[in-house]
């Protein structure tokens, strides 16, 4: 007797479950945005310290390269996870800005890893500055989101 409404409800649930990606509410989106920006900023800072220590001759063997690879892969994982999710309604422009910043950070991390792998010591200073700049930009982008959602 109640089979039809039950089937309809199930169908709605199944279809909803099959949707590509449900947009999160604004607060959750801001929180996850702040989180990814903080995570990537942490990786950028880690790579910057690694370069600094490599320049100072404080690292042994290939430790600097491994540390830079770890920072790059951690940032890449966090970025991919974030970019695959839908932004909150009406926040597509903010999402694109964050995505651009994350890609920029990823590019500098790749450059740092390449420099450490090839031993391009003359590039270390410039890379440290770029990492510092992009780290500050990530931090600045995260600040208002942290206040609202985090």
């Amino acid at each position: 007797m109640h089979a039809r409404p039950l089937a309809a409800a199930l169908a709605v649930l199944v279809l909803a479950g099959c949707g590509t990606s449900t947009p999160p509410d604004e607060q959750a989106w801001e929180k996850s945005s702040a989180q990814v920006l903080d995570d990537v900023a942490g990786s950028v800072a880690s790579s910057r310290i690694t370069l600094h220590e490599e320049r100072a001759g404080h690292l042994v063997g290939r430790a600097g390269l491994v540390m830079a690879q770890d920072a790059e892969s951690s940032a890449s994982g966090a970025t991919q996870g974030y970019l695959h999710r839908q932004p909150a309604p009406g926040r597509a422009d903010d999402f694109r800005e964050i995505a651009e910043l994350l890609h920029e950070a990823g590019a500098v991390l790749v450059d740092a890893r390449i420099a450490l792998a090839t031993g391009a010591e003359d590039e270390y200073a410039a890379l440290q500055s770029r990492l510092l700049e992009v780290g500050e930009a990530l931090d600045a982008a995260a600040e208002p989101l942290r206040g609202a959602g985090g």
Partner: protein
């Protein structure tokens, strides 16, 4: 004189053997995110492991039998099996993390990917557990593990604001950006890392292997009551150096390299070399202990011949279990699962399984049939009961906190 040397050696190996991959990673993560505001959890955890290690050591010295042997006999096969399954699952997860930890430490030095290194580590581990003498294995890795004292030297060299660090530690000041649920999650993880079940199994089974008698209780107590707290200071030094170098830069630890980074900043190449040696020794030593603990637990439960002091041919099943666990743990690693993630999971699941490990020890330690005049006194029972309550609360909170915080995110 010989006795004093034995005590000193025991204490030194207890310090060096106290820290494993769980302590390394969890303390560094906590230091980089919470500073020293969770230092009190390390203190509480170290006292707890002292209370229960002393009990299980006393049980081994007086009865000449190890934990699982007595748990099954005293509480019956069903409770014993539950205890065995829960402890084995956590110990196996820890074995995966330790083998991964050795491979990651060697990757740090060589840049050869840890997945290529892990099978060689597994073979070496199996060879050591099969061929090496128990005391040689325990002493060598324990003493080399002392290299981790470099964290304390690094913290000193970094010249932190000691008053500020002290205030963080004493007042448990949570950083503003972190939530209370995350704070509680990491408190549970730190407690789980300090009270990992395998430490007690290994300690009591090792006592049986070394044929402790009631006369050895004094030396055993010295090892536990001096060695473990000094090992706990190493944990605090790891957290402290991460708090001084990584926290201000906004770096959250998610790799073993980042755990070592503060030492490189403070002490340069020599410091980094020493800390990597310490990583290898601590994780390899803990891999030996977890591998043996799995063999001990299963063999003691089912009543097989077990131990390193028995010829391999007389304890075949024991050695097959140890070898199979090493192969299985390496196979898990080869699925490309992140060893640091496994470590984080292992300390939380360790917290979950704590009551199943420690309640039977408290029960057996109060049984005159086994311990005669050496049963728990009032102080041991008060401490044991207080810790049992803490353990149950921590165990109940572990999974909800893991879900709410998304593994501490």
């Amino acid at each position: 004189m010989k006795k004093y040397l034995a005590v000193a050696l025991g204490i030194l190996t207890a310090i060096g053997g106290f820290v494993d991959i769980g302590d390394l990673v969890t303390n560094a993560v906590v230091g980089s995110r919470f500073g020293l505001s969770l230092a009190w959890v390390v203190v509480v955890g170290v006292i707890g492991i002292c209370v229960y290690s002393e009990m299980s050591g006393r049980i081994a010295a007086v009865s000449g039998r190890a934990t699982f042997d007595l748990v099954r006999e005293r509480l019956g096969p069903r409770v014993g099996l539950l205890n065995l399954l829960a402890s084995m699952a956590v110990t196996f997860l820890t074995l995966v993390a330790e083998i991964g930890g050795v491979a990651l430490a060697l990757q740090l030095l060589s840049s050869v990917h840890y997945l290529l290194v892990a099978p060689f580590v597994a073979v070496l581990l199996w060879l050591v557990l099969w061929r090496a003498k128990f005391s040689a294995m325990e002493n060598v890795v324990g003493l080399l593990g002392l290299a981790l004292v470099v964290f304390a030297v690094a913290l000193w060299q970094l010249g932190p604001d000691w008053a500020e660090l002290g205030r963080d530690a004493v007042m448990a000041r949570k950083p503003e950006g972190e939530s209370w649920t995350t704070f509680a999650f990491y408190a549970v993880a730190l407690f789980g890392a300090a009270m990992t079940p395998y430490e007690v199994f290994f300690f009591s089974s090792g006592g049986v292997e070394e044929k402790w008698s009631p006369e050895d209780i004094g030396v055993m107590r010295a090892n536990v009551l001096v060695g473990f707290p000094l090992g706990g200071l190493l944990s605090l030094a790891i957290a402290g150096s991460a708090a001084v170098v990584l926290m201000p830069a906004g770096v959250t630890v998610d790799s073993l390299g980042q755990v070592a980074l503060p030492v490189a900043v403070a002490l340069g190449k020599i410091g980094l070399s020493v800390v990597i040696l310490g990583f290898v020794a601590a994780t390899f030593g803990a891999a030996c202990e977890t591998g043996l603990s799995i063999g001990y637990s299963v063999a003691q439960y089912f009543g097989f011949q077990w131990g390193k002091y028995v010829r391999a041919g007389e304890a075949t099943t024991f050695h097959v279990i140890v070898g199979t666990s090493i192969i299985a743990a390496t196979a898990v690693l080869m699925t490309t699962v992140d060893p640091v993630m496994v470590t984080e999971a292992s300390v939380v699941f360790s917290a979950l399984a704590l009551p199943l490990t420690y309640l039977p020890i408290l029960v057996v330690a109060n049984d005159r049939d086994y311990l005669g005049d050496y049963v728990n006194g009032r102080f041991a029972n008060v401490m044991g009961t207080i810790y049992l309550v803490i353990i149950i609360v921590v165990s109940l909170a572990a999974i909800p906190l893991m879900i709410i915080t998304g593994m501490g995110r």
